[in-house]
């Protein structure tokens, strides 16, 4: 009854033994370095089968197909994916394997946003392999040697959506306990088991002794069995041959320790042999599986970091990345220049946020595209897990599908339509989910009414198989100024939800409570204390408001979460009403005076631009504006200073970092002028819009960033599309805004064709638009060849060209 063992093993009730190394075994049989080992399934099936047969004879329950790199991209013209999988499964069957696991290794490419392979393209590469393996008759999948959580997720989704077979997933770690991309064992276990991996674990990487502590770290986060396929030690070269040191007995002894920690699926990776597998067989036959403990905790994660709360702990969700009622945020989302978003993210992280809410809900923008880009960019600057905040289920799904981690979805509510659309998304992608206590009848006024909606939501999540700890009920704060019974009802609702729906968590956006009242932070803080007292787990707040974080930090002392009040004493020892903290985490510091700077603010501002010092720039500019208007500040102070910088750069008395530092200082000055102008209602200077980007396939964006800084300084509005940008995206942006100038950058010869392609599309869709190109490999001849209107040798020349074109 072969299926029994597999299902018992995936339920954690039986051991399952995989095979050992294929690559090292094939090399021992003459495979040349750099050859595609997968092709041997077609050219030398008997050799591949011979390796399998040895593993079967050694006692392996499962053999792994020789298809690690058998994706359409790597195979190229050498063979089709279908041929290779068909042959590979046949080789395994011929060897008498009890189960055949179809092997899916990494694509070989780095996924966006760090690399250029789109998540959907990675998914397609895997999906084709999955379909081929299913057709060939595989019994399960093993997704292995993953370093990138996003890629592991693409592979797992490909299996789940293109087959009914289980998939075990292992990632590979370095000695520092992280994958090449910085993922920890905790993150891998949490994210992949939430997403539906049949087992999670560690493979390759290191020897069994080094792998043991990594898989032990996974145990408390994995909702599924644990798996280990270690190397036979760390490889080293002896007499020109790569050798592995750990013999079968030593290997099995190390595995024994891991069985005690709850590992139930084992095997071997590089350097292991049939003898290693035989030793493991002997070990497993004398044992029974140990079940690993899964503590009750709420947990979400980004690719590098987990945020978790055990009952009694409280967490902070930063609310600032949301355009509602925030002019600068609206402007940032509309323009696509996300510097302000990035700054808010970093400020909230510094202030103590543990999760960041991300909302891109503006009627006039493509919410889905903006949300996805925000998530990509936030992943680049913060390790905090994200809360995807949208009312459109399609936006939520687009964002969480490729999110490298376990996201929190904000939100579902008690309406039948919402439950039907959002709960399945949370279940499918293994997300935690915020449930709002409102339904077709609105927000119930009473605590019992809110509980009733919460019951409805939890019934739906229970039915969808979402663990209770992943369900977070928001009892919805309402203004005390309009209904003074509201605060008590909310607090009571929190108590009821926690008591009546055991395991479920609660969250609250606090600040509504004070709407219409003066000195709102005080009311918010008082209410937050009361809510924590009622059992609130997570607060959605602005962590930059000191009073709020004071409540959080002091509550953690009272609740016992801050053990020994260690953190409180560390941060609050110097605090008192007489000495309030100005900014979170910072002590009062008098502004530094620099004696070497001119006292006249106009002179000082010029000097600061020339010296490239942005620190003291804001103060200097504010002083300039005391005596002068904005026009003077721009035309008589900043622009002439920038012109001088440009001259010095041309003459070679400045080099690139100086040019950029000056541009940065000038930008700090412009921002002060712009902020002052907005206060006075004066329109900002607008010289026209320029779209800039690095072309498809190219991730080098330094040159593009320099151009952007300079153009912004000269008063152009810059739409920065980022790097690795598809021709269609450029054309869309140009057409949508009727932009008259595009700047394209490419650093590599291999990406210049993408430049030509982009220009061709622009000619077709936006014939009015001029194109300026630049980048390391470009020359005036190249520029003509790709069909550009202008070649710019550097950023100052681009600014000059923009001035001419947009004059």
């Amino acid at each position: 009854m072969p299926t029994d063992l597999l299902s018992a093993a995936l339920a954690g009730d039986a051991f399952l033994l995989f095979d050992g190394a294929m690559g090292t075994e094939l090399q021992a049989r003459g495979l040349a370095a750099g050859e595609l080992p997968e092709l041997l399934c077609l050219t030398h099936p008997e050799v591949v089968s011979e390796v399998y047969a040895a593993y079967v004879a050694a006692g392996a329950d499962v053999v792994t197909t020789n298809t690690f790199g058998a994706n359409a991209d790597k195979l190229g013209d050498a063979a089709s994916v279908e041929e290779v999988f068909s042959a590979a499964v046949a080789c395994a069957r011929a060897a008498g394997a009890r189960y055949v696991a179809a092997d899916l290794g990494p694509t070989g490419q780095l996924l966006a946003p760090m690399g250029t392979l789109a998540f959907d393209d990675a998914y397609e590469l895997f999906a084709r392999q999955v379909r081929a393996a299913v057709a060939a008759g595989a019994d399960l999948f093993v997704i292995e040697t993953m370093a990138d959580l996003a890629e592991a997720k693409a592979a797992l989704l490909a299996v789940r959506e293109n087959s009914a077979l289980p998939a075990v997933v292992t990632m590979t770690f370095q000695e520092d306990g992280r994958t090449f991309l910085g993922t920890t064992p905790e993150v891998a276990a949490l994210a992949l088991s939430s997403l539906g991996a049949a087992a999670v674990g560690v493979n390759c990487s290191l020897g069994p002794a080094e792998v043991a502590p990594l898989v032990e770290r996974m145990a408390p986060w994995a909702r599924c069995p644990l798996m280990v396929q270690a190397n036979a030690g760390l490889p080293h070269v002896e007499d020109g041959v790569t050798v592995f040191d750990i013999g079968p007995d030593q290997y099995a002894a190390a595995v024994a320790g891991m069985l005690d920690a709850g590992v139930t699926i084992t095997g071997g990776c590089c350097g292991t042999t049939p003898a290693h597998i035989a030793a493991e067989r002997a070990l497993l036959d004398g044992r029974v599986p140990v079940r690993h403990e899964l503590p009750d905790r709420f947990a979400v994660c980004g690719p590098q970091r987990v945020t978790s709360l055990v009952p009694g702990e409280v967490g902070v969700i930063g609310e600032r990345i949301n355009p509602t009622g925030k002019r600068k945020m609206k402007e940032a989302l509309r323009s696509g220049n996300h510097d302000h978003v990035i700054a808010e993210a970093l400020a909230q992280e510094r202030a103590g946020a543990q999760i960041l809410d991300v909302n891109a809900g503006l009627p006039e923008i493509d919410e889905r595209a903006v949300m996805c880009r925000l998530v990509d960019e936030l992943l680049g600057v913060t390790t905090l897990p994200l809360q995807i905040d949208a009312s459109d289920p399609a936006v939520i799904e687009a964002a969480v599908r490729s999110y490298p981690g376990k996201a929190l979805i904000n939100s579902v509510n008690g309406k039948a339509e919402s439950l039907a659309a959002v709960v399945p998304i949370a279940a499918r992608y293994g997300c935690a989910l915020v449930g709002l206590t409102l339904d077709e009848d609105g927000i119930p006024a009473t605590a019992a009414g809110r509980l009733a909606v919460a019951r409805k939501i939890v019934a739906a999540t229970d039915a969808a198989g979402i663990p209770r700890a992943d369900v977070v009920i928001d009892c919805l704060a309402m203004a005390a100024s309009t209904d003074q019974s509201a605060p008590r009802a909310i607090l009571e609702a929190i108590r009821l939800v926690k008591a009546e729906l055991p395991g479920v968590r609660t969250v609250l956006g606090v600040s509504n409570i004070s709407f219409g009242l003066p000195f709102r932070p005080l009311v918010n803080a008082t209410f937050l204390s009361a809510a924590f007292g009622a059992g609130l787990d997570l607060a959605i707040v602005n962590p930059g408001v000191r009073r709020i974080m004071d409540v959080v930090d002091s509550w953690r002392v009272l609740s016992g979460e801050d053990e020994g009040a260690r953190l409180y004493v560390e941060h609050y020892a110097e605090r008192s009403d007489a000495a309030p903290a100005t900014e979170v985490g910072e002590k009062n510091r008098p502004a530094e005076k620099d004696a070497a700077l001119p006292t006249d603010p106009v002179e000082r501002a010029r000097r600061l631009v020339l010296d490239g010092r942005s620190g003291p720039m804001a103060d200097a500019m504010r002083e300039v504006l005391l005596a002068h208007d904005a026009l003077f500040a721009i035309n008589e102070v900043l622009v002439p200073a920038l012109d001088e910088v440009g001259r010095r750069f041309e003459a070679g008395t400045f080099f690139l970092p100086q040019l950029m530092a000056s541009a940065e200082a000038a930008k700090a000055g412009f921002e002060v002028v712009r902020a002052a102008g907005e206060k006075d209602g004066a329109p900002a200077a607008d010289k026209g819009t320029v779209v800039v980007c690095t072309v498809k396939g190219d991730i080098h964006d330094i040159g593009k960033n320099i151009v952007r800084m300079l153009l912004e300084n000269y008063g152009f509005e810059v739409v920065d599309l980022g790097r690795d940008v598809a021709p269609e995206t450029v054309a869309d942006a140009v057409v949508e805004r009727h932009v008259r100038l595009v700047g394209l950058s490419a650093l590599m010869t291999s990406t210049v064709p993408a430049m030509a392609e982009t220009i061709e599309l622009l000619r077709e869709r936006a014939p009015w638009c001029k194109v300026v190109v630049g980048g390391a490999v470009l020359t005036p001849e190249y520029a003509r060849m790709v069909g550009a209107d202008f070649y710019a040798k550097d950023a100052t020349e681009t600014a000059r060209i923009a001035g001419e074109v947009l004059a």
């Binding site: 690559g23 040349a32 370095a33 750099g34 595609l36 790597k74 070989g108 490419q109 780095l110 946003p113 760090m114 690399g115 250029t116 040697t145 370093a147 090449f180 991309l181 910085g182 390759c204 190397n231 760390l234 490889p235 080293h236 020109g240 790569t242 990776c269 590089c270 350097g271 996300h338 510097d339 990035i342 680049g380 600057v381 010296d611 490239g612 010092r613 070679g652 008395t653 400045f654 080099f655 690139l656 970092p657 100086q658 950029m660 530092a661 940065e664 396939g697 190219d698 991730i699 080098h700 964006d701 330094i702 960033n705 320099i706 952007r708 590599m748 010869t749 291999s750 990406t751 993408a754």
Partner: protein, 237 residues
């Protein structure tokens, strides 16, 4: 999995970093000086320079499609083009190497690109200088292997130089198992990520080379990492 080496690199030549930044004697402010120092420090702190090296005997020199091709024993790697043929003329064996600073440096470049563009420029230059140091360190393994066989090393030559095609990268990286061992990935445009990675081949010759940079230990870029000096030898002995 191939054997990866970790390189302990604690400094970068500041003049090299400045050279990557286009420096030609300009007067620097104390702030910029400090930012450059900070960028170099951060790069050294985040980089995990690692590499893989293997040496293969030359097994054949042919002409295919009007192009010279050098074949190597025990690997599917072939070296095509006139540039590499000239560079390796007379070589008995070839050292193949790949090094990288790791994804930590790449993530920092991405972070700076979104939040501090001056910092990005400086950090990028520091990374470029540092990955060349890592390549120097990897080259010493080839030098040592050459010395063992009483052969002498030439200089490094990378895919993309002259007419040595970038299309060499997939097989070169596979030969070293560089994705598994080092985490180097390759895009469909054949660009490596982490971007601060270097691949190269080095010829091993019967006679000492005059262009190899190994003529004197004092001027040798590999000196800090030399495996021979530790045992009191040089690669010219």
């Amino acid at each position: 999995m191939a054997a990866a080496q970790a390189y302990d690199i604690r400094s970068v030549d500041r003049a090299e970093v400045l050279r990557y930044l286009g420096y030609s004697g300009q007067q620097l402010t104390a702030e910029l000086d400090a930012r450059i120092d900070a960028g170099v420090e951060r790069c050294l702190a985040l980089a995990r320079p690692t590499g893989c090296v293997r040496v293969f005997d030359v097994s054949g020199r042919d002409e295919r499609d009007g192009e010279p091709v050098i074949s190597l024993a025990g690997t599917a790697l072939e070296l095509r083009g006139r540039s590499i043929a000239a560079h390796l003329a007379g070589a008995e064996a070839v050292g193949v190497l790949a090094v990288t600073l790791g994804m930590g440096v790449e993530a920092e470049l991405r972070r700076l690109s979104l939040s501090d563009r001056v910092g990005q420029l400086i950090f990028d230059a520091a990374g470029s200088a540092l990955v060349e140091r890592a390549a120097d360190a990897a080259e010493t393994t080839v030098v040592a292997a050459a010395a063992e066989r009483r052969l002498f090393c030439g200089t490094r030559f990378s895919p993309g130089y002259g007419d040595f095609p970038l299309a060499t990268q997939p097989v070169l990286l596979a030969t070293l198992d560089a994705q598994r061992a080092l985490g180097i990935t390759l895009s469909s445009e054949l660009l490596m990520a982490p971007t601060k990675s270097v691949t190269a081949v080095v010829g091993l010759f019967a006679e000492p080379r005059e262009d190899a940079g190994h003529e004197s230990c004092a001027a040798c870029l590999c000196r800090d990492f030399c495996l021979l000096l530790r045992s009191g030898r040089t690669c010219r002995d």
